[in-house]
């Protein structure tokens, strides 16, 4: 049996009167790349934030390695938000150094290798980076941490196909699935499918379906996108 890294047990979260997610229950296995997919407003960002301890559930339990998730989890989880999390006045190198100071688990050697792989210039000011290079830098900052869980909210959104490919390739070149698990949300379902072990489909704040990508193809004879369309009808 595979070891579970994240477990949601009947988790609900609402913002004022709006239910964001309701009665979420699922277990995520360690050492996999897991895609969180679903239409806009289906609760993907809320789910990821609950997973990382950035949000607390109104009811239910979120467990990380069998411990209840707390705000202090940031030590064990690298979180890449879908908004800008880099400081414009730093250079790329300074930004990396800042992260190295912030997190004890930051692997500076890996970060340098990734900067080179992503063809990022350490001397360039972050504010002058193109959108694509900004996306690449965020991946470098998240993946360079030696943490058991890397959570990425829409790492590919708004980027062109070449940048998306370089980010995905960079991700699999540098993550260590022996000791790390990746959970990412995306709308680029077709493009990301070959990189996923498993997909969780959310709809209206609930888990609509969840399966291993190979198993999906074996059972429905179609792609992840076909599966998603079938489930959302």
């Amino acid at each position: 049996m595979e070891h579970t890294i994240v477990s949601f047990q009947d988790v609900s979260k609402r913002y004022q009167l709006k239910e964001a997610v309701q009665h979420l229950s699922f277990d995520l296995p360690a050492g996999k790349v897991i895609g969180l997919i679903g239409p806009n407003g289906s609760g993907k960002t809320t789910t990821l934030k609950l997973m990382t301890g950035l949000l607390r559930p109104n009811s239910g339990r979120v467990l990380f390695q069998n411990q209840r998730v707390k705000r202090s989890m940031a030590e064990y989880v690298a979180y890449l938000s879908d908004t800008e999390a880099v400081y414009g006045f730093y250079t790329v190198r300074q930004m990396v150094n800042y992260y190295a100071g912030l997190y004890q688990d930051f692997d500076a050697v890996k970060a340098s290798a990734m900067l080179e792989f992503m063809q990022l210039d350490g001397h360039q000011q972050v504010r002058t980076l193109s959108k694509g290079n900004n996306g690449r830098l965020k991946i470098v900052l998240a993946v360079s941490r030696k943490v058991p869980l890397i959570v990425m909210d829409e790492p590919l959104s708004g980027l062109d196909p070449l940048v998306r490919q370089s980010i995905l390739t960079g991700l699999i070149s540098f993550i260590d699935l022996e000791s790390q698990t990746v959970v990412l949300s995306t709308h680029e379902v077709g493009e990301v499918e070959p990189f996923l072990d498993m997909a969780v489909l959310l709809d209206h704040g609930a888990v609509k379906a969840m399966d291993e990508t190979d198993h999906i193809r074996e059972t429905i004879g179609g792609s992840l996108l076909d599966w998603m369309k079938q489930a959302l009808v």
Binding site: G31, K32, V33, Q165, L168, T169, I172, S173, L177, E193, P194, F195, L196, D197, T213, D214, H215, R217, E218, G221, G222, S223, L225, D226
Partner: protein, 125 residues
């Protein structure tokens, strides 16, 4: 760099078939070391767990072998290669004949048509 996958079959099976073809064509010689999980994953644009599954499957069918601490190698067994060629041919023939049958052709129609068929560069003898 990245090649496309068809949507109807699990990706790991498509990779197994792709590697088998490369072995039959001699692009991957007998006894050759296969790339590490990570290198292969980056080369074909999938995740390393998928490559692990591919190598395990190649091993299961006797086309590759994993040597502890050294990696995964194409089999050095010449006989296995001959059988692999036959198996690939049979797979294609089976799929082809199924298509033909669905379109209402008899085996005689197909055999006659194959004998008369001319494709530039393909000897028909």
């Amino acid at each position: 760099m990245q090649e496309d996958f068809t949507s109807s079959q699990p990706i790991y099976l498509q990779l197994v078939e792709r590697l088998c073809k490369q072995i039959v064509r001699g692009e991957l010689p007998l006894g050759e070391k296969l790339p590490s999980l990570r290198d292969m994953a980056v080369q074909v644009g999938v995740n390393p767990n998928t490559v692990q599954r591919v190598y395990t499957e190649l091993e299961r069918i006797g086309v590759a072998e994993t040597r502890r601490g050294q990696g995964t190698f194409v089999t050095s067994d010449q006989n296995r290669l001959f059988r692999l060629r036959e198996e690939l041919m049979m797979n294609y023939i089976t799929a082809f004949l199924n298509d033909m049958r669905e379109m209402g052709f008899t085996l005689q129609d197909v055999v006659r048509s194959l004998q008369e068929h001319q494709t530039p560069g393909v000897p028909n003898k």
